[in-house]
């Protein structure tokens, strides 16, 4: 985790030092890397027998749980978002 954060900070500094140069290709490169990463995660998932063999029996339960948690934590986040607005108006 700290390795990854350190590498991002390294990127931040290099980006700052190179800020005079145009880097229009960067968002495209980031997009491509995201796709490569997900492709590799896909390969890792597909070759993980534990996942593939249990997808039939546990997949439905797991999907329901994941969707419910995303929904409920999104609702939790929504509470924070809504409370933010009146504060802004007061200022």
């Amino acid at each position: 985790m700290f390795k990854i954060l350190g590498i991002m900070c390294l990127g931040l500094v290099s980006g700052y030092l190179l800020r005079r140069r145009k880097m229009r290709f960067m968002p495209v490169l980031i997009n491509i890397l995201i796709m490569v990463l997900l492709f590799i995660l896909g390969i890792e998932t597909g070759s993980n027998k534990q996942i593939i063999e249990n997808l039939d029996s546990l997949g439905g339960d797991a999907l329901l749980m994941a969707i419910s948690m995303i929904l409920f934590s999104s609702l939790g986040a929504l509470l924070l978002e809504k409370r933010k607005k009146p504060q802004k108006d007061e200022k």
């Binding site: 980031i30 796709m35 995660l41 749980m65 995303i70 934590s73 999104s74 924070l80």
Partner: protein, 200 residues
């Protein structure tokens, strides 16, 4: 939406290729490949932001309120699992242990397999992988329906790494610090919460 569909297509392509063993010959077995790609990705994300002349202004506008976001994410996730344990054939403590993975599937499934056996460990693995994938796939929708904070909440502990680039793309780079903070807090909480609920 088009972009996140493309991302999921890449994932599905990877699953299919490895499932039918088409990729074994092409890719040597190196478990660290995804880590190296993640490092390259994070370097580029950092570089892209360091390059942005307004980046320091964005850092200043951090709202203290956002400090509470990880707590709301955790409470929301655990509440969902507690409700589900009523209607599903899993015990409350087991459900909460699975839910406290917060999409950090590798660590949570290892702890749960060790403490509670392979079945529950596999469930944790699947649940948390699905949570990560659904966050990536639904990012634009979550932002549209629930707002930018919900997208971060949905990502759980992965807002520090795997889902961070997608969050920044969907929400804008001003959400860098909240997303990293959120991911870090939840990352640290996973081993404690999972072990705690396993011990109940």
């Amino acid at each position: 939406m088009k972009n996140s569909l493309l991302i999921i297509l890449c994932f599905i392509l990877g699953v299919l290729l490895s499932y039918f063993s088409l990729f074994d010959a092409l890719l040597p077995e190196n478990p660290n490949v995804s880590f190296y790609v993640l490092c390259a990705l994070m370097f580029c994300v950092g570089m892209n932001m360091g390059h942005d002349p307004d980046i320091f202004k964005k850092f200043k506008n951090i709202q203290l309120r956002l400090l509470l976001l990880p707590l709301f994410t955790a409470l929301g996730s655990l509440a969902a699992m507690a409700l589900l344990s009523i209607v599903m054939p899993y015990k409350l403590a087991d459900s909460l242990a699975v839910g406290s993975g917060f999409a950090y599937y590798s660590l949570s499934s290892i702890i749960i397999s060790h403490e509670k056996g392979a079945l529950l460990g596999t469930l944790a693995l699947l649940v948390n992988i699905f949570r990560e994938l659904l966050t990536l796939l639904l990012a634009p929708l979550l932002r549209k329906v629930f707002g930018p904070l919900a997208l971060i909440a949905s990502g759980g502990a992965t807002t520090l790494d795997v889902t961070l680039p997608v969050i920044l793309k969907t929400n804008g780079t001003s959400y860098l610090v909240p997303a990293i903070y959120h991911g870090m807090v939840l990352d640290f909480s996973v081993p404690f919460l999972v072990s705690f609920f396993c011990s109940l």
